[in-house]
Amino acid sequence: MKKFLALVLTGMMVLSLAACGAGKDTKGSKLIKVGIINNDPNESGYRTANVNDLKATFCEANGYDASFAYSLKNDEQISYAQKFIADEVDYLLLSAAATAGWDSVLQDAKKAGIKVILFDRTIDADPSLYEASIVSDMAKEGETAVNWLASQNLDSYSIIHIQGAMGSAAQIGRSGALDAKVAAEANWNIVKQQTAEWNAETAQQIVQSVIDAGESFNVIYAENDDMAKGAVAALDKANISHGVNGDVIVMGYDCNKWALEELLAGKWNYDGQCNPFQSSYINDIIKKLEAGETIANKTIVMDEKGFDASTITQDDVNNYGI
Amino acid sequence: MNRENAVLEMHGISKSFPGVKALQNVDFTLCKGEIHALMGENGAGKSTLIKVLTGVYSKDEGEILMDGFDKPVMIHSPQDAQNVGISTVYQEITLCPNLSVAENMFIGRGKEVLTDWKKMNEDAGKILESLEIPAKPTQQLSSCSIAVQQMVAIARAVDMDCKVLILDEPTSSLDDLEVAKLFKLMRDLKARGVGIIFVTHFLDQVYEVCDKITVLRDGKLVGEYTIAELPRVLLVSKMLGKDLDDLSDIRSESQEYKGDGAGKAVFEAEGLVSDAGIKPFDFYINKGEVNGFTGLLGSGRSECVRAIFGADRVLGGTVKKDGKVIKIEKPIDAMKNGIAYLPEDRKRDGIVGDLSVRDNIILALQVLKGFFKPFTKAQASKFADEYIKLLDIKTASQDTPISALSGGNQQKVILARWLLTHPEYLILDEPTRGIDVGTKIDIQKLVLKLASEGMSVTFISSETDEMLRTCSRLVVMRDRKVVGQLTGDDLNQNMIMNTIAGGEDNE
């Protein structure tokens, strides 16, 4: 029976390997060989869009021979990196699960002449170990959103602040801007500040709890779309109006397509973009490096927008929704 | 040391457990180069004596002398026993199946922290070779047959310079060929001067390999004999405690009812064999007949009735009811054909501990009735009341968990469970074990009463008197084989012992 279990597990591993290996059989010496290490595409809608974007760009038609590896665990990612180094890829593209622990493997890559490009997430390593780092500026995203909120000119702000998983870059950046503003302005108050760990159900329970307590509020500042959706579900249940001309302003992040549609329908007020489309930036850098140019500024911050329900258009939904 | 050439002497060993005197003033002597059988029925004190010797239990009284020690040796733990040269190989192999043969032979013995693997394998190879054990030192133990594993365990014991080797039921899971190999090894060791204590329930094996026999009964020493002075039948009588000279029979109360005569069997079995290791057997029972299976413990009595009931996996043979072939693969098949089975091990197979007396009583009938037809609480209560009264079950209430009852009352509840199904054929496997005398007699009376009402009953008991009192026919078993059938005037202690012992006429 142990054997059976082992067999099942082995079978599953073989299948998943086969799935990973699909599309790997590319030939031709002119192709640029890239190894891409990313987080699990199932992690979130953001990640799914990110992975799809990378897959669309790094294909044979564009002159790439790309291999993909996914894991949410740092040590697994490192071993993937070692494998790619052994495979002698030309470029290693990396979205690290955690910031620490990458020095030695990136040094190996450097010795092997492999160029490393970070995307989406930075790491704690000497900048000489990588060519470029393409990131979102979460703090800037937060500032854009808070500035938008301030521009609404409410008499007073009573905010339910639903945070992401504590300690993540997105949470720190997006919380920081709001915390600073609340500390600075007398008429900005936090009614409740709780982490829902990016989880819609938890967000729903948190907002439910505030409603049950009978406290009043007029802003929901959720650090991603899922949590905003959970919060709105609690509002709907309690018949509290929200969105354009509603009692409560709803703010989310990430620009999921469905979230932008909520904006378009006037049910939410604001959604901040967290740009998952890094592939064109990466492509540009690789082209420059191949042409022998050097990258002057290693950290490249992507353009990110914030959408307002009163100005959003169907085109925006189509172009920026993920 | 009192006796010349003795390697081990135990004097006046006593050991009590709460409520039981397991050993009373027992002496035991083992000589160099001797294979000494330790015999006795269950509860005779064999295993207690072994455990005292190996330091698992500490004795209450008595002393243990070993060759080479001036003073009595103190054995407080298995480690102590090993240190004075006593090694034990148990029935269940206590080695590590996922380690290599050599590792198993040396593990936990070395004082040094680091192991010299090469040397260890070489040493192991030498020992295995010298004992002609067909195993490689680097082989994983689990890839060896049970017999070879057993031999590796012995090799481990021997290499620890043991003077006394205890083999506790080593042959129970071996086939004939493997037993022969083991015996050869035992004789080799004997030639080297090792004293071997051999515990087994196979009589044939005792007479094949042993030099001496010590018999225990009810925690007391019956005597020490050489093989030559103790023929089989005498051995059996010593073990059972029935004096061969006093064979006037007690079969006075036995019923004379013999059923409706031969050929009117209700249930018949032909060539029935299960995966529990019994040889194929034939069997029949008539309407209103009480028969029994007898034989020493482990002779296959229970396994036969379990095969009839479908409790073990049936490998071959046919069962007929009223002349028609029926299929019994699972207990439910047997139950549907009117067979009920009260198992030997009440705790393990009988009671459903946390459930109430009521649920325990209705269980079998409820299963027969079906999943979608539960009894109402009123019905169940009625059944329970009826049988609590009928069998005089002493319980605080119907809702009391059965585990809170005494052994005898638990047994009555299980009996009630099966009587409630109104079986045509009731199999009672050791229904009287471990219960008080009053209940024993109640159960025997009940069996006779049920038979007179037309129920067929098989009654198994290790107490021969009970069987003689209740059964009109006895099937005798030895070494997992049916070896005879006794009826009429043959039904007496003498014949039973002779048949159990077997082979006596030829010797």
Partner: protein, 363 residues
């Protein structure tokens, strides 16, 4: 006087013997705590939904609402625990699969349909078949291959959420129909949250099943003594298998409520860690986690008690990522209290106390 006393002690004994004692005591402690800390916890307000229907709200309503999935899962988990002496840790992941399948059926090919492409009942049945099949898979591993339940269900615990994502091609299906929100919200005109009625319905069904079939007797017999059950004509393997399939059905019902709450699904976080709460509910109900006798009512009550705890903690602003720590304390307390050595100790303390009392009275 003496008669009164014996009557009283009899009543006390009955309560003490009853398994309901543990969850009731836990509930009582929390009720008292909330009464002292903030009595407004128990306030129930009548409001009106956007369509003008009456709706009750307040912490107690939230508990009835959010505890319902847990109560439904506790039913199946109790049966699995009783029959197999182990727990299914894959229910959270199988809820994801069940919910994903339902949404897939409702959406048809398109992930954002304007209307539902199939009746909800069809979607539910297909989803239930999926979760029951997964339950059957677990059941076969446990019953036939004799793998420890926790180890066997570890497979789906690990793989379930990926399967759920795969069912919908990793897309995020969204149902816009209001009708679909009824299961996790309110049915127009009825002021009590629907999940509570669904849980109530499941409770009634399991009560009737236990009353009109032998499921309870068989499950307990198999859990207490498998060998004996076999000799009484039962098929322990099938009973174990059946318990997992029933749990699969419970998972489907819970999945329907979960996806209805948001009209969408997030594969990686839906019903996250719910298996731990469901197991805790069984334990809080005073049921032995090693199998055997069970009390279904106590398990269901246990589920609501856990939600009571969760809601109380939210009210007092305990960070949601710290909730597991509080639940862990409850688990530790339960496990320690039920450990044989602690029970003996308590018993001996009680004895010495009562003997002291007697000696005092004598004096």
């Amino acid at each position: 006087m003496s008669k009164d006393k014996s009557n009283g002690s009899q009543f006390w004994n009955k309560i003490k013997r009853s398994q309901m004692l543990i969850p009731l005591a836990a509930l009582l402690i929390m009720v008292i705590f909330n009464l002292i800390a903030d009595p407004s916890f128990f306030a129930i307000k009548l409001g009106y939904s956007s369509a003008g229907y009456p709706v009750l709200s307040g912490y107690l309503m939230t508990i009835l609402d959010c505890g319902s999935e847990l109560a439904i899962l506790a039913i199946g988990m109790t049966l699995v625990t009783a029959a197999c002496g182990g727990q299914d840790i894959s229910v959270g992941a199988t809820i994801a699969v069940g919910g994903s399948v339902m949404l897939r059926v409702l959406c048809g090919g398109n992930s954002h349909p304007e209307t539902m492409q199939a009746p909800i009942i069809v979607a539910f049945i297909v989803g239930a078949l999926a979760t029951m099949a997964l339950g059957a898979f677990n059941g076969v591993l446990v019953a036939k291959f004799k793998i420890q339940p926790m180890v066997a269900t570890l497979i789906l615990f690990t793989a379930g959420r990926s399967i759920a994502a795969w069912v919908n091609n990793n897309e995020l299906p969204i149902i816009k129909d209001v009708e679909f929100t009824y299961f996790g919200g309110f049915i127009p005109g009825i002021p009590i949250p629907t999940p509570f009625f669904i849980a109530l319905g499941c409770g009634i069904i399991i009560f009737l099943v236990l009353k009109f079939t032998n499921l309870g007797l068989y499950t307990q017999a198999v859990g207490i003594n498998e060998s004996s059950s076999k000799l009484n004509g039962l098929n322990p393997d099938f009973i174990k298998f059946l318990s997992f399939v029933i749990l699969g059905l419970c998972v489907a019902v819970a999945a329907l409520i979960k996806v209805s709450r948001l009209s969408t699904i997030n594969y990686s976080v839906i019903a996250k860690d719910i298996e731990m709460d469901a197991i805790l509910a069984v334990a809080l109900g005073g049921n032995k986690l090693s199998g055997g006798k069970f009390n279904m009512g106590a398990s269901i009550l246990g589920a609501y008690v856990i939600q009571f705890l969760t809601t109380t903690l939210y009210k007092f602003d305990v960070p949601s990522d710290a909730l597991p720590a509080y639940k862990a304390i409850v688990v530790i307390a339960l496990v320690v209290m039920s450990a044989p050595s602690v029970r003996e100790k308590l018993q001996s303390i009680k004895k010495s106390l009562s003997s002291k009392k007697v000696s005092k009275e004598v004096a």
